[in-house]
């Protein structure tokens, strides 16, 4: 396509701003250091030696939402915790994404009772849902790669 096919291999890569920015975003997504319950332990497993999330540019957890791009809601969300999670989401700078990790965060899971919010999408928008109670680290990795695919397909016109 374009100049590279006309002039042969000049050692130059051509791309669009859109693709370059999306590539950079997927390559270094900083998740918020945030855990709620059981899924947070599997999230820690994913970051530790065996599964090593840093292969996907994600080894750096930020403890403050101001510096984070990705909120992984890992675990059951109680009614008492819901305002806190909403505040964390609001404090994150754009662009930001949300992964709902596990059954409880996605739909309430096994808890259909007075205490648990029946899905984190009741309070914040979610990009990727991951099933499992808790999901294996492989499932979390798959969810993150799915999010990468989504980010790569974002358009300049959506950024504003």
């Amino acid at each position: 396509m374009g100049v590279s096919s006309k002039l042969g291999n000049l050692g130059v890569v051509t791309t669009t701003v859109e693709q370059a920015v999306n590539w950079a975003r997927t390559g270094a997504m900083w998740p918020l250091l945030f855990g709620l319950a059981c899924c947070a332990i599997e999230y820690m497993s994913s970051q530790a030696s065996s599964y090593d999330l840093s292969r996907f540019g994600m080894e750096l957890n930020r403890a403050t939402p101001r510096q984070a791009d990705l909120l992984i809601v890992s675990g059951r969300l109680t009614r008492k915790m819901a305002p806190v999670v909403r505040q964390l989401y609001d404090q994150m700078a754009e662009p930001k994404w949300v992964i709902s990790m596990g059954d409880c965060a996605s739909c309430g899971g096994v808890y259909n009772n007075y205490a648990i919010v029946q899905g984190v999408d009741e309070i914040i928008p979610v990009d990727v849902y991951i099933a499992g109670c808790p999901p294996r680290p492989e499932q979390l990795l798959h969810g993150i790669l799915t999010l990468h695919e989504k980010v790569k397909s974002e358009r300049v016109t959506d950024w504003a």
Partner: protein, 422 residues
């Protein structure tokens, strides 16, 4: 009250700001004049091991008092259990103390067995001991990694989780699930150990002691670690007992109380192991005790694995009124089909009686109180959990120490908020 809170929109809830007067009596009078500072820590804080919120009153860097605010992970598990038959309630118990689900299964199963007067065959008891000690290792490994990372030793977590993955792999081998295994059930365990389990655990038992030495090489004589841990968060033995502390946090103060020795269950009285005790009751002693518990668990596991090879027989009770028949029996026996159908639709009736039964989890005494109704659902199930009690002791442990010591103290009592709030 819950309805009123629901009716409020999230924006309204966030705009709420409390007044200082509401805290009168909880914090010192000096806070009212602004002489001391009130600082909020949590519920989103990397060092609170979950969603614990602490309101700290600080005099400079020194903690005057701390007010724990719990309930951010209140899941209503105890209430949910009232609506489930005894067997079907088991998977919910996994999700209380999510670092050692096997211990919760065991506490609940022991209580149900006591209520029903149900016996567990010897092989079942041996498998249970193996599971419980593996769970103790897995739980202590998470504690070790997170406690170290709180205190600034970043790499220990990577070593600890490397071994934890092997333990979780064994749990998956047994039960099909890495964490929420629901493997220990009333009457025994879900199924017999698979053939590949024995070689795997033997290899683990062979490798693991050297790994514990590695952790010790990283931390035990590390001068930074000693500076952060020694003489911090001291609990006197009488104070620890007065607060009802159990487990390594109590033994760190030198009180010899381990339910595996004091009220043996599942045949623990037949195993040869020691209960490590501390002297000073500080963060460092609690660290040393858990490291020693790795080695004691290895001792128990070695004995249990040797027994598992010789003791054959059923791994769960043969009482078909309470324990489902084997899958293979279903095609051959009409009675088995009836028992299976009855157990998975109705469950079983338990007597109208109340019992309490406790076991030693990695964190301390986890007790289960069940009040039966005579029918297939309990009237009330209550869990006495160590994290709840240890959080109540945080104020007395932390007052007088520096703010930076708070994370060390929280880490050293090894709280799990799912265990506390359930």
């Amino acid at each position: 009250m819950a309805v009123a809170a629901q009716a409020q929109s999230i924006e309204e809830q966030r705009k709420w700001e409390g007044s200082l007067d509401q805290l009168r009596g909880l914090v010192s009078e000096r806070a009212m004049t602004g002489e001391t500072m009130l600082l909020n820590m949590g519920p989103h804080h990397p060092s609170t091991h979950g969603v614990l919120r602490l309101l700290l009153e600080l005099d400079g860097e020194e903690i005057v008092t701390c007010l724990p605010d719990i309930g951010f992970l209140h899941t209503g598990i105890e209430k949910s259990l009232e609506d489930k038959s005894y067997e079907k309630a088991l998977p919910l118990t996994d999700r209380m103390d999510y670092l050692s689900p096997m211990s919760n299964n065991m506490a609940y199963s022991c209580a149900v067995e006591k209520l029903l007067d149900l016996d567990v065959p010897e092989r079942g008891q041996i498998i249970r001991v193996i599971c419980l000690e593996l769970a103790r290792c897995a739980s202590h490994l998470v504690w070790l990694g997170t406690h170290a990372i709180d205190m600034g030793a970043m790499s220990v977590l990577l070593y600890a989780f490397r071994e934890r993955e092997r333990v979780l792999g064994m749990f998956e081998m047994l039960s099909g699930q890495r964490m929420m295994s629901s493997y220990i059930r009333p009457g025994g365990v879900w199924r017999d150990v698979p053939v590949e389990f024995l070689p795997t655990i033997k290899q683990f038992l062979h490798d693991f002691p050297a790994k514990v030495d590695d952790y010790e090489a990283l931390l035990t004589q590390n001068p930074i670690w000693k500076d952060r841990a020694q003489g911090v968060g001291v609990v006197e033995p009488d104070v620890a007992l007065a607060h009802g502390m159990t487990g390594p946090a109590l033994r760190g103060s030198g009180v010899n109380w381990d339910l595996r020795k004091a009220q043996p269950y599942s045949g623990y009285e037949t195993y040869d192991f020691n209960v490590p005790l501390g002297e000073h009751g500080d963060v460092y002693d609690r660290y040393l005790i858990r490291i020693q518990e790795f080695r004691e668990s290895m001792k128990i596991l070695n004995q249990a694995v040797a027994r598992l090879e010789t003791v054959k027989g059923p791994y769960r009770s043969e009482n078909r009124k309470y324990v489902p028949p084997l899958r293979s029996e279903l095609g051959q026996s009409m009675e088995a089909v009836i028992h299976h159908f009855k157990l998975w639709t109705y469950g079983y009736d338990a007597p109208d009686d109340e019992i309490y039964s406790a076991i030693e989890s990695p964190r301390g005494e986890i007790g289960c109180y069940i009040h039966g109704t005579g029918a297939n659902k309990p009237r009330r199930v209550h869990f006495k959990t160590p994290s709840f009690i240890h959080i109540s002791a945080l104020p007395v442990m932390s007052s007088g120490y520096l703010l930076a010591d708070m994370v060390a103290i929280i880490g050293s009592v090894d709280i799990v908020l799912g265990d506390c709030d359930r």
